[in-house]
Symmetry: C2
Subunit: 528 residues, 2 copies
């Protein structure tokens, strides 16, 4: 970590996507992106230390009084990596609590490795200013991302997809010294469940890699139950210490988010186009599968698709969550056999995952890990995603805005591009700034994996997918070249987006699903 | 493996239990047993190779036509380790099928690493005779054990408990090249469930380590379902190939066994004594836990305990299976909150585990792994076990008979000794051969961990457990010194058991739960 300051002088290389990327980040050699499926990993997976039951309480009671004690018992010291998960979203209190406990212990230069960070964790900025945290590797939503693009974080931000985070931990790219797991329900042995308790959040899949691979694991709960805590999404056999606290999070923020259908007529139209496209292309047939996010457009799509499926008497084999009440209705109305759920977004979904065996918890290992023996993502027939930008070569951006500011994480977005058909469902412009552009500000997903762009002004199909073009040619859907849509949008918005005022200073890298570096995020000039 | 022939001249050392054990077995250095909790492991867990999804079918279909193809694709070659599990018990057809397929490929000198082997797998002897199999490491029930004690197996047998097998794989002591998993239900991606299908066997916990740690994993199923196979006890993400066959086993033998209550008055009395002891000792209280096997005495105990619990209005927090209809009744009648199940012994239990979320699948990792951060076994209040012999120092034997023949595996027996109170419930003699002896033929469990021996002729309490002696002193139960029971039994049987006619030739070792060598099994002179 002390070598950080020299890294900014490091060499940049052009990768297979034509993007300049650093060959070293945070002291670790990086492989520039080589193209989809081109980089082949070698070696064996990371392996945690062998422990002995002789060193753990025979009665299974691993409780210690507080987080400081737990961190001290884990041997936390300067420069270590401390991880957390984001299933409590903007309501999480545990990650900051742990980092502040580390500060109390006087530990410095930590690398914080959250599965994602949220605006309510803005307090981490102070901990970076006082050197408790050296830098963050993980999604930075809102103010923390902004802080990073201002060039204020000493280390380099490393953005990974959910699957990429698993891959990085599994492959030993990131070694977690101490994992801190917020537990809506747990027993004193450390068995942990996310689907019950006053802070229930559903799935805990994002914490699973941490629990398996970290040297030390701390479970923090506000709902301790007698052993056994069933189901155990996190196994107590991987846990060192259990800490009881009054509250792990603000439940009003745990299960809220963009889980309402949009009311915007344009966005409702996009949702309808997507659903109609999927039917017209022959993808919507009995036994098919789909995934959609939790945003307003995605939910509008889901709602419309449901109507079409009912009309045609079609039943899905499985649907992938992020789950909401809309997906739960699919299950309850017999429109799908299963929900395979990585993240649970509202109370209806939490209730469903807690009680319905067909609503199945998944993890980034099962769903997204590219360095595994396959994963679920490539078995999904169609996925509907958002983007901050998409360009005329169908490349997508989800992390920065056109002004270059880093404001979002990748989530499962990159991993989902492996689906049989990938649809970006986006408004053609936002706040009078075009979404369809010449070249994305930051490359988060290669255009060769993005098949369709659906906007309120028409549907553009990637020329690589002649099969889709052929399949829907008599559907009456407004198919247009993507350049046409771009040109129209530029007329409406009065031109292309203003280019970001970038400094020649890399502040973060965007990893591809295989751990290679897909793009660089640059410091934004302070005068912008 | 070719060095095997020189190993018989290797040095023997006396371990902390006073037993002579080899310091090398099958070419690998062994640590002699050092006492309970004394050996501390070092290093990191074993780690399987990193794979890439680019090398697996995008549509998730990993099927190949047959086992030979699958083994060839796995790169099976001479001297490799091939593993199998025993959840189908004496009805399993898959393990032999795989070994015979290996023979067809002309592969030689394999190490077969079953979680247990059964009499119906006697065909493995022919495969040892023709050098397809070099030796077996794993429980050898019946003829294969007998073959081993005849000194006919070229390598050394290595007997491990269920937890010890996980420990050995996890610690890298045994590296599995190819795991072959019999799957009562599976999808083409390799997700596998044991609780449904015509060959349903319930839990698949014994195959879990194999699926996680092996270099290559083959799933063999007679019930292929569309993706996703839910629940997935084995994750397809760990699986390389899927093979469909007509039948993975003889279902009449999969779920049968010693799952009937004994009709012997003596053994019924033992069961009653055990239940009364547990109540009298104050162990049977609301929130307690117990484990009992599937043998006739154990079931008689369970049945009697149930009556006492009902009388006293006591409810258990959890009971551990090996599950049978008797345990399922506990669950259904509200006498326990949960069954934590490692092995499912009858159809009622299979049905329960398939449909009742309170009947929970466990694995040797959660239940028994001594090289973990604790395990469930030490959290069980009382366990009731059998034995082939117990001696006046409360040492137990479960693997050999008094004639020295190896006829049984260790199972979870050693692991269960960690319970709060360990009770051996045994007839004082069998076939006119004393069970209570001066010194056990083979040491499978140290006397310091065995608290109580219950026979039809009285109850002996280990003098280390003055608390138990005090607790039951006014109970009216027939407590006697173990020497008294032994003396009475010798009078009845006409003396001590005849000592086995051992050769000075180690044929197998018995591992302790921490991977150290607890005892040696010797070749039996052919004239016996």
């Amino acid at each position: 970590m002390p070598t950080q300051e020299i890294e900014y002088k490091l060499r940049l290389e052009e990768n297979a996507a034509g993007r300049l990327v650093p060959t070293i980040a945070n002291g670790r050699v990086q492989v520039p992106y080589m193209g989809v499926g081109q980089y082949k990993p070698a070696g064996r997976k990371a392996a945690p230390p062998i422990r002995s039951a002789a060193d753990y309480p025979q009665n299974g009671d691993k409780r210690v009084p507080d987080l400081e004690t737990a961190l001290r018992c884990c041997g936390l010291r300067d420069g270590m990596v401390i991880s957390s998960h984001h299933h409590l979203r903007d309501g999480d209190r545990v990650a900051l609590m742990a980092l502040q406990a580390a500060a109390q212990l006087g530990v410095k230069e930590l690398m914080w490795f959250p599965s994602a960070s949220f605006p309510s964790q803005v307090g981490a900025i102070q901990l970076m200013e006082n050197s408790t945290i050296h830098h963050i590797e993980g999604s930075m939503n809102g103010p923390l991302g902004d802080y990073c693009t201002q060039g204020k974080m000493r280390g380099m931000g490393v953005l990974r997809s959910h699957g990429g985070r698993w891959q990085a931990v599994q492959d030993g790219e990131v070694h977690i010294d101490v994992a801190v797991i917020a537990a809506p329900t747990a027993d004193a042995f450390g068995n942990t469940d996310g689907s019950h308790g006053k802070s229930a959040c559903g799935s805990l899949g994002f914490a699973l890699a941490d629990s398996i691979y970290a040297d030390h694991v701390i479970v923090v709960t506000d709902n301790l139950v007698p052993f056994p805590c069933v189901p155990w999404q996190i196994q107590g056999n991987n846990v060192d210490y259990v800490v009881q606290v009054d509250s792990i999070g603000d439940s009003s923020k745990i299960v809220s988010g963009t889980t309402q259908i949009t009311r915007s007529p344009d966005r409702l139209l996009i949702g309808e186009y997507v659903a109609r496209f999927i039917r017209a292309a022959g993808i919507m047939r009995t036994g098919f599968s789909f995934q959609a996010g939790s945003g307003g457009i995605a939910l509008a799509f889901v709602d419309h698709l449901k109507r079409l499926m009912k009309q045609d008497g079609v039943k899905a084999r499985f649907v992938r969550g992020g789950s909401t009440k809309y997906l739960v209705e699919f299950l309850e109305e017999g429109l799908t056999d299963y929900i395979l759920d990585g993240q649970t977004f509202d109370l209806d979904a939490v209730k469903s995952i807690a009680s319905d065996a067909r609503h199945v918890v998944t993890s980034p290992f099962t769903s997204y890990n590219y360095h595994g023996k396959g994963n679920f993502a490539s078995m999904v027939d169609v996925v509907v995603l958002g983007a901050t930008e998409v360009d005329v070569n169908f490349n997508g951006n989800v992390v920065t805005h056109s002004d270059g500011r880093l404001l979002h994480g990748i989530g499962g977005w990159q991993n989902c591009l492996a689906a049989g058909c990938t649809i970006l469902a986006v408004p053609s412009f936002r706040d009078r700034i075009p979404v369809v552009v010449d070249q994305v500000t930051t490359l988060a997903g290669p255009g060769e994996l993005i098949d369709v762009v659906v906007t309120e002004r028409g549907i553009a199909i990637n020329p690589r997918r002649q099969d889709l073009i052929g399949a829907i040619k008599d559907s009456g859907l407004p198919v247009r070249p993507i350049q046409d849509i771009k040109a129209e949008v530029e007329r409406i918005c009065g031109g292309k987006p203003t280019a970001p005022r970038r400094c020649d200073h890399a502040v973060a890298i965007v990893k591809w699903v295989d751990g290679t570096v897909l793009d660089t995020i640059w410091k934004i000039s302070s005068s912008t």
